[in-house]
């Protein structure tokens, strides 16, 4: 796994707008065919990194290559090998599905027979054929997303950036869109996906978590679960089953040795100092308390709190 073979290679990326540091010292590598998930709160710098990797905004310092091409020098060439789909769709609502596809094909210089063949292929892949002559404004959110994906990959890019691709669409449409991502990823297309949804993050092979412009975690879910910051020394994660979760939550948050507590359905997940567990069990003898592994959400919440505590 050397830098040369990585499809996306970012080293010490720093992007500054005036005094505001939007991205601070971010480094990562993504291999061919990977489905890389990029998480972080709004405004943490996810979209900025995508735009910088596509050459739309300049890097303040650091370096990045895509498919071996430097983003500073080869922005134009990179565009031909990279697909991009934003949360805003990027579709023309007053045009038909076919007109959108034809336009984006032509925008990438794809015309005539090759364009026709590629559009056929994408109609097959996305199942959009029945809607070919329908205006985009009449499509549901899920179909719009599929069309947006088809337009984003019309030039058969090796790398696809998806910026919150499933924001605001229903779970069924979300799942079928992810099936499409996996299908393409299986064909060797590399995906860089930003998302808010933990279930989506769990589908990604590898994850990065960005908070306050800094990449604070990077790795597979297994790697992240083992992070020392996610499991602070001397603490354990407990799952506490209770009938009145909200009442217990208030009590727990005040209890000694409880660092975090949050409700998951009818249970409470808590991060508790190990020496305080016995006292807790004694205090609530009627409750079932067991030790669990950190979920992805637990990890990110703990990491975020750790950073917040540090910056204070």
């Amino acid at each position: 796994m050397s830098a040369a073979s990585a499809v996306i290679h970012a080293e010490n990326l720093k992007i500054q707008f005036g005094d505001f540091v939007a991205v601070d010292d971010v480094s990562f590598e993504i291999q061919k065919g990977e489905l890389f998930g990029f998480l972080g709160p709004n405004g943490s710098g996810k979209t900025t990194i995508i735009r910088a990797l596509c050459g739309l905004i300049p890097l303040t310092s650091g370096s990045a290559t895509i498919l071996g091409m430097d983003v500073r020098q080869h922005a134009k060439d990179i565009k031909r090998h990279v697909g991009y789909m934003s949360q805003k769709f990027g579709l023309y609502e007053d045009l038909t599905v076919a007109e959108n596809l034809n336009f984006y094909a032509a925008a990438y210089g794809l015309t005539g027979q090759p364009a026709k063949a590629r559009i056929e292929e994408l109609l097959e892949l996305t199942g959009l054929r029945p809607y070919l002559n329908r205006r985009v404004s009449q499509l549901s959110g899920g179909w719009k997303q599929r069309l947006a994906l088809a337009c984003a990959i019309i030039h058969s890019p090796e790398v696809v950036f998806l910026d919150e691709p499933t924001a605001g669409i229903d779970p069924v449409a979300r799942r079928s869109l992810w099936d499409l991502f996996f299908q393409l990823s299986g064909q060797g297309v590399t995906f860089f996906v930003t998302t808010h949804y933990m279930d989506e993050a769990e589908r990604c092979g590898r994850l990065g978590y960005i908070y306050m412009s800094k990449l604070i975690a990077l790795g597979t879910i297994g790697d992240l679960q083992k992070l020392p910051d996610a499991n602070p020394a001397g603490t354990s994660r407990l799952e506490i089953a209770t009938l009145d979760a909200s009442k217990l939550l208030v009590e727990l948050r005040k209890a000694k040795g409880v660092r975090e507590a949050t409700i998951f359905g009818r249970e409470i997940h808590a991060l508790v100092e190990t020496d305080a567990i016995e006292a807790l069990k004694a205090q609530y003898p009627q409750l079932t308390i067991r030790t669990i592994d950190a979920s992805l959400e637990d990890i990110f919440v703990t990491l975020t709190y750790a950073i917040m505590a540090e910056t204070k």
Partner: protein, 371 residues
């Protein structure tokens, strides 16, 4: 060269589709300038005639009635009322019922008979400057005419000026104003259409998608300019037809030359529209900016006020306004039958302005990658 304009063709085709897809917008875009042409074309008449006049005749003599007759006979004044006191005279003026008051003193006839100078008070409402100037001139004329009639043996004046108005012999306002109006109407229509089309893409997020494609900034801009330029050209032809056949403004020069020479003007206003679209983030902001170009184009372009009589500073500004040059071309060809040799400077300036605006917009567009 091809790379600089990469993507022009698909953008242009897409833009035409947008236009056809939305016939209501197209209809109003084409119709509104025509409606405005009719409104302003019929309404604007700067030839001052029939100014309401109040007479206060203290003299009540044959001589004074002869003077009133002279005022009534001129096309400039219309006797609106006669009053019997100074207060009534001032009241009529203040209320706006009369713009001019003529007060003939009681000793008017006696002074004339004694061979003295008889004075007549003429009050002019200065709140409308165009009326005031003409009323002063015309009343002086009436007095001169009356004086000459009293010189024995003088049947005709010694010197007579015979003015001959070239190019617009009837001095019809329409002939003067409509050619200028064409430039103003075209400008606002084209700026709005192209600026809104680009800002709409910004609002909907399609512009961001376009920036990810290999479409070059100039390709995008020129691709947008072609359809809206074509619409503007169509509108120009419609307005010229209405001007010629409905307002009966004769075109003394070559229509083909006129259309060709206005192409650089279209280029310039398209360029201004593009510049506005790079500054505005929302359609509302773009609309505001586009409207901001209207007043300077009307007042500082020579459309209403002669640029030659403006203070130096404003004359300088008038040179920066594209409508200034378009009006030179329009009035030159339509009214004076001017040729390319007479007007080429205007074409050159507009061409330079247009290219500069487009390059400026393209540069701002590239920089706004960060936006």
């Amino acid at each position: 060269m091809k790379n600089l304009f990469y993507g022009m063709q698909p953008v242009c085709r897409k833009e035409f589709t947008h236009i056809v897809r939305d016939p209501t917008t197209l209809f109003f875009a084409l119709l509104i300038p025509l409606i405005q042409l009719f409104l302003f074309g019929f309404a604007v008449d700067t030839n001052v005639r029939q100014i309401p006049t109040v007479i206060y005749d203290e003299s009540q003599t044959q001589e004074s009635r002869s003077l009133v007759q002279s005022f009534a006979a001129s096309d400039v004044f219309r006797i609106a009322s006669a009053v019997q006191s100074p207060d009534a005279m001032y009241d009529t003026m203040r209320s706006g019922k009369a713009r001019v008051a003529v007060r003939i003193p009681f000793d008017y006839a006696r002074n004339l008979q004694l061979g003295k100078t008889a004075s007549v008070l003429v009050l002019v409402d200065g709140s409308d400057s165009s009326i005031a100037g003409i009323a002063v001139d015309a009343s002086t004329g009436v007095a001169l005419e009356q004086s000459l009639m009293r010189v024995p043996g003088m049947m005709s004046p010694a010197i007579e000026v015979r003015p001959s108005v070239l190019y617009n012999p009837s001095t019809r306002s329409a002939n003067f104003f409509i050619p200028g109006l064409i430039a103003v109407l075209l400008q606002i229509m084209i700026i709005l259409l192209i600026a809104l089309s680009l800002v709409r893409e910004k609002e909907r997020g399609t512009l961001e998608q376009l920036k990810m494609t290999p479409i070059a900034p100039l390709g995008l801009m020129v691709g947008k300019m072609i359809p809206y330029g074509a619409l503007g050209f169509g509108e120009l032809c419609m307005i010229l037809t209405a001007m010629r056949f409905i307002f009966r403004v004769p075109i003394h020069g070559s229509v083909i030359l006129l259309l060709m020479m206005l192409l650089p003007f279209l280029l310039t206003v398209l360029g201004i529209g593009l510049v506005i679209s790079t500054k505005a983030q929302t359609q509302a902001a773009a609309f505001q900016l586009a409207m901001g170009t209207v007043l300077p184009s009307v007042f500082l372009s020579g459309y209403i006020f002669l640029t030659a009589t403006m203070p130096v500073f404003f004359r300088g500004i008038s040179y920066l306004i594209p409508v200034t040059y378009a009006i030179q071309i329009l009035r030159g060809i339509i009214l004076r039958g001017a040729t390319f040799a007479d007007l080429w400077v205007n074409v050159a300036v507009l061409t330079v302005m247009g290219c500069a605006a487009i390059l400026l917009a393209a540069r701002a567009f590239v920089k706004q990658g960060a936006g």
